[in-house]
Symmetry: none
Subunit: 416 residues, 2 copies
């Protein structure tokens, strides 16, 4: 069923808050097998809200509203839906009792506007608010279309949707097959490069469908199909998965919706009982921060050193100051020594070192974006040179992703 999410609130239109409700609802509706065609945001304005409802009703089957159910004059969702659907506004008796009980429990005087939160269009089914005052509700229109109103505060919205809204929608869904997806992750390959290789598949896509999602230094490909069950889905998805991975096998690192390279690295090293040290010059804490974001990182990451000023590379890591001056801070030699020194200092199995020119200006004759990533292990020390593009932050992020990817590849190639 085609679905539209209408977020109500002037605070969204002035950029005061991020619309996380639209993302949350989109994800959960997709999980249910509903197709979200539009997300719309309107302010606390009665006529524009009614217009948005009319536009949505003309193009989708299910409308989810979030926000505008509070006690103030600005909260107009109830009134807008009543006008749009030509229904009177009524007070829900059960909800009214809850609101009154709430204020009695707190021994606080209840102002009358609070009872607005117990109102709903006549004929709408109330959705209880277990952690707040404003009730939600679902109204079915004569043509079978559904309008569901949920409160704006994210925790109230989520609790109400999970406990009452979602089951309601699920029961109303026509008998379709559920959606199954596979998420394939690639790193170290540009989005356009992978897109070019994928193009024939994307052009022919029908079932399963293919979508490509890129972020700095990473690409994820999603394959989706509807099927009776996991086994049928697997039979439909597996050949396409194999084919997509074969397009760039050297850059593929794994499958799973919430999989990340950091997660894989930490898990793999924990399994192997191995440890890691980081020596980050230009990435300066970015690799450490990313890895520490993964619970369990403390079993793996022993030490990080950020020898940000060149002299610190000599003083703390013991690099030969003369040779450092001769080769320059951004060089193969320095990356190699940094990695080795980190491994020695931390007594770790692995060490990764980064040194690069993040910009905005060139350094020691090296261009902006030039980077050296060093990897130290008992089997030896390896350095790769890269040149990446972007502003200061993007360069640092790309080098971080490349360093994680190279470490992961080196681990795979190393038998324990």
């Amino acid at each position: 069923m085609k679905t539209e999410i209408i977020s109500v609130g002037t605070e969204l239109l002035v950029g005061q808050i991020t619309n996380t409700n639209a993302q949350y609802l989109s994800r959960r509706l997709n999980d249910l097998g509903l197709d979200v065609y539009y997300q719309t945001t309107v302010g606390d304005n009665l006529n524009r809200l009614i217009d948005a409802l009319k536009a949505a009703a003309a193009r989708v089957d299910v409308i989810l509203l979030s926000g505008g159910l509070g006690p103030t004059e600005d909260d107009l969702t109830r009134e807008a839906v009543c006008r749009f659907a030509d229904r009177p506004l009524v007070r829900d008796k059960v909800a009214e009792a809850s609101v009154r009980a709430f204020f009695e429990r707190l021994d606080r005087p209840m102002t009358d506007n609070n009872l607005r939160q117990a109102e709903r269009p006549e004929g709408a089914h109330p959705l209880p608010n277990d952690i707040g005052l404003a009730i939600g509700w679902v109204l079915e229109l004569p043509d079978g279309k559904i309008v569901m109103a949920l409160p704006g505060p994210p925790r109230e919205l989520q609790t109400m949707f999970e406990r009452y809204g979602r089951p309601y929608l699920k029961a109303r869904l026509p008998e379709t097959k559920p959606l199954f997806s596979r998420y394939l992750h690639f790193a170290g390959i540009g989005e356009s490069q992978l897109a070019t290789r994928l193009e024939p598949f994307i052009q022919e896509q029908d079932d399963p469908t293919i979508a490509l999602y890129a972020s700095v230094g990473e690409v994820m490909v999603r394959l989706s199909t509807r099927a009776e069950n996991e086994r049928e889905a697997q039979i439909k998805l597996q050949p396409l998965m194999d084919a997509v991975i074969r397009l760039a096998p050297d850059f593929y690192y794994g499958e799973g919706e919430s999989l990340t390279l950091s997660q894989i690295l930490i898990d793999t090293l924990i399994r192997r009982g191995e440890t890691l040290a980081l020596v980050e010059s230009c990435t300066g804490g970015l690799i450490a921060d990313t890895l520490i974001g993964v619970p369990g990182a403390s079993a793996v990451l022993r030490l990080g050193v950020i020898p940000y000023q060149t002299i610190m590379k000599a003083k703390v890591l013991g690099l030969d100051a003369e040779k450092l001056a001769e080769h320059g801070a951004v060089s193969t030699w320095t990356a190699e020594r940094m990695a080795e020194a980190g491994r020695t200092l931390a007594l770790s199995n692995w060490a990764v070192a980064t040194t690069c020119v993040a910009g905005p200006t060139t350094q020691d004759g090296q261009p902006v974006g030039r980077a050296y990533i060093g990897l130290a292990h008992e089997s030896g020390v390896y350095v790769h040179e890269h040149t990446v593009s972007g502003d200061r932050q993007t360069i640092r992020e790309r080098i971080m992703r490349l360093a994680l990817f190279e470490l992961w590849q080196a681990i795979l190639q190393t038998h324990q």
Copy 2:
């Protein structure tokens, strides 16, 4: 002028990413004095995108599009606007040369689809992309309405909008009194705490208007008014600024739209000719990463050490292993020693150390969220204890902000 933001991308409709672009643009457009009436999100679907453009053109004067300008078949914004406005698609010569030069510089083969990123509707003014490949553009319709297309990656969108999009819109604005704003920054105070104190001001707001923007560990208050000139604005804004600062003077750190605590710290230390070392346990690279994001940081930040495993606090920083075991890794004693050791190792004027329980589980009998921040300076070593709430990432971010704020306060109190 009435404005609509259309975000393009199926990844938004399936809930894969949060729409931060809509928030960013809304805020910047409001700053310019444009009224955002609608935010709309559509997927990578040509017909629905054209329909969204038609609907927007029927109700607003300015349409801002974000996303759909990349190199793949899924990137349909160019084509949709061409069909909607009945214009042919042409290749921008300047942009084409940039794309080709980019691949030559990297010595990488360029696939043809990359040239799609240099295309625009005929007659549209190109907006350069200084940190990416896809150009943006502005098209003026025969009826005077404006369509501006910006790339989806947030950093590219922001850079392009600030450098080229915003000035373009500003020049096209009708002659109204310009909007003047003041941005007051607070750290170390909870958003709801500050909001409660601000409530009487917000309720009575008319001119100047007040808006509150909160992020983890930081709150910004914006005061705005329309005036003939800066002097008139200052007279209207100053009394309110003073009153707002008086609500939480100990937590106020400065005024300015793009001001950040990191920027203030780096600038202040550069001016004083002083240097800094970081010893980050639980924040693990987060403080370093934030400071290094500020150009010029290399003059100030000498060294970062992330002694993530407790044993490293002894081995690399020289902390007494027995006392460390006695006091525990998360303790006043350890934060104090870490800060001192960092200052000694880096020969810096200042050192900041963090140690905390980031969760998900308690540690050595200390609850999740307990933190110690150590500050070392020639005048002595100081440690503050905090208990903060949130998940792992939020706790780490709050401690990072608190550490920056405490360092800044300590610097202010120290005469050179």
